[in-house]
């Protein structure tokens, strides 16, 4: 970015996914050590690294530490991740030595379903034994969400994804709320932010219930409420998300291009 001029003028030429990715990227601080899932988390982390957070450290569960891909990888095991990594370690090592002891600042995840306390389901829709939809399962998420100092979640918001009760708890967030996560043993602080296509939610500091703190440009409280399967709490000082700048959009399209 150093030699480029930053165009901070707002643009309205973006997709919902692009907006989610840019808002997520802004949440990463320079120097954060980030355990990255595939999809929007991976794109956002690479966008952050190529814009405001050049020293962000990306770790993928395939065992690549401080990897610097030029393009967003298709899968967590792309060859470029290994070629550009500071170190490549085995899968047992990445979970046991690097994630478990609390060396990761940010666990960055997506999900199919989420509840008001940021618990996640990526296993089944419907009954476990006779599911309506069988999903991929846990992957690295349960321990990423447990051990990272904070968790960032990205998913589209709808009455089907933001549910009153998860069909299956794959990954724990703030558990049953009201600080109950602390009863689960030694762990990081849980979900700090949920970024959706409608807005941004953060947990209430006392109850841990996800609260709408920001609406994306053009979105309404009614839309957010309709897309939530529980009575959604709205922050008193609800903000409007800063729209993507031209610089952000251009950088995103550069890292996503194939």
């Amino acid at each position: 970015m150093t030699a480029e001029t930053v165009d901070a003028s707002a643009t309205s030429d973006y997709t919902a996914d692009e907006l989610m990715t840019i808002v997520a990227a802004r949440e990463l601080n320079n120097g954060d050590v980030v355990f990255v899932g595939i999809g929007i988390p991976s794109t956002a982390a690479n966008l952050a690294r190529q814009t405001h957070a050049p020293d962000v450290v990306l770790i993928y569960e395939s065992g690549t530490i401080d990897t610097k891909p030029t393009k967003t990888p298709l899968s967590i095991g792309d060859g470029e991740l290994a070629e550009t990594a500071l170190a490549v370690v085995s899968v047992p090592e990445i979970f046991a030595y690097w994630l478990q002891p609390g060396r990761i600042d940010v666990g960055f995840l997506g999900a199919a379903q989420l509840d008001r306390h940021g618990n996640l389901n990526t296993t089944v829709i419907g009954d476990y034994e006779h599911p309506k939809v069988r999903l991929p399962g846990a992957g690295g998420a349960p321990e990423i969400a447990l051990a990272s100092k904070r968790t960032m979640l990205v998913l589209r918001q709808s009455a089907r994804s933001f549910v009153d009760k998860l069909d299956y708890v794959t990954t724990v967030g703030h558990h049953e709320g009201n600080g109950s996560r602390a009863t689960l043993g030694r762990a990081g602080n849980g979900p700090a932010i949920v970024i959706t296509d409608i807005g941004v939610l953060r947990p209430d500091p006392v109850t841990d219930e996800l609260t709408l703190v920001s609406l994306h440009p053009g979105r309404t409280i009614e839309e957010a409420t309709a897309a939530t399967g529980w009575p959604l709490k709205i922050a008193d000082d609800l903000e409007e998300t800063t729209p993507p700048t031209l610089t952000e959009i251009e950088a995103l399209r550069r890292v996503s291009a194939r």
């Binding site: 595939i38 569960e61 395939s62 065992g63 690549t64 298709l74 899968s75 967590i76 095991g77 792309d78 060859g79 991740l81 290994a82 490549v88 370690v89 085995s90 899968v91 047992p92 979970f95 046991a96 994630l99 478990q100 618990n119 296993t123 476990y128 006779h130 599911p131 069988r134 991929p136 399962g137 846990a138 992957g139 690295g140 998420a141 349960p142 321990e143 447990l146 051990a147 299956y168 708890v169 794959t170 990954t171 724990v172 558990h175 996560r181 689960l184 043993g185 030694r186 762990a187």
Partner: protein, 284 residues
């Protein structure tokens, strides 16, 4: 040298009906050729173990080889669902499939415990999740030193471990590099093992990061491009078009069955299948 043989012999000698078989490779070096040979030899009632059952296990499950799947993430990476896996779970077609489902961290500890000759391993994990409701292989344990409550997971000790590697030397030692996955642990945890390799070399490439001595490898078979459509670092890239095409092939029972018939049952080895999916590969 004694362990170097054809893949057909390696499978015939080492993989039996009812066996627990772990085929590993974390997006990289996935032993597709060996998977095809197990289908070709019509093994049945296998308990299949793999952290990321992707297209390779979709093929084995759809072909009716598996009775149980032990895993932590099942999907077609970057594409979507595994249709043969889903139909086995949803409709018991072509047969029912039991699931023993874990997290990646839990599976990797289970392999490490198996490789270490221990009955279980421990981790700080599986808390607050429904995973523990549907498996007998995770319990809570109290640390005898600190009193901390931890997850205990039972060791995985497959009958056969199967991987693909870049190189073997003339003694049958195996070397690989790039994304390392859980292959070393899977082989050391298994009673018997099969390794397919790109080539046999006089001296390992300096890139080699993991070496498995010949005396822990039951069989080495040379199968160039044996990890296709996954990739072998330093040899060939991932065939993303194949993964996308698999979505369509696997969606329909009959199209899938015809594919298995044409590409596996009617071919004598993996090279014939490769020549079909991409004629230019025959020249590599």
């Amino acid at each position: 040298m004694k362990n170097i043989m054809t893949l057909a012999d390696a499978v015939a000698l080492n993989v039996h009906d009812g066996d627990t078989v772990a085929m590993e490779g974390f997006t990289h070096l996935i032993p597709f050729a060996a998977g095809h040979e197990i289908i070709r030899q019509q093994r049945r009632d296998l308990r299949l173990v793999r952290m990321t059952p992707d297209v390779i296990y979709d093929q084995l499950i759809g072909a009716g080889c598996a009775r149980e799947l032990v895993f932590s993430w099942g999907g077609n990476p970057g594409v979507g669902s595994l249709h043969r896996f889903r139909e086995a779970v949803d409709l018991a077609y072509p047969r029912s499939l039991e699931l023993d489902e874990h997290s990646h961290a839990g599976m990797s500890v289970r392999y490490s415990a198996g490789a270490s000759g221990l009955p279980f391993g421990t981790l700080r994990g599986y808390v607050g999740t429904d995973l523990t409701k549907y498996t007998d292989n995770v319990r809570r344990i109290t640390c005898p030193f600190t009193g901390e409550s931890l997850a205990a997971v039972s060791a995985l000790n497959p009958d056969v471990g199967v991987i693909h590697a870049q190189q073997a030397d003339r003694h049958g030692n195996v070397g690989f590099w790039g994304i390392l996955g859980v292959q070393k642990e899977a082989i050391l945890a298994s009673r018997r093992s099969i390794v397919t390799v790109e080539e046999v070399v006089d001296e390992f490439d300096p890139s080699v990061r993991v070496v498995l001595p010949h005396w822990v490898v039951s069989a080495v078979a040379v199968v160039p491009r044996g990890a296709h459509p996954s990739y072998a670092h330093g040899y060939y890239d991932r065939d993303n078009a194949y993964y996308r095409a698999w979505d369509e092939i696997s969606r329909d029972r009959d199209v899938f069955s015809q594919w298995i018939q044409t590409h596996i049952m009617n071919t004598s080895d993996f090279s014939e299948h490769l020549a079909m999916v991409e004629p230019t590969l025959a020249e590599v």
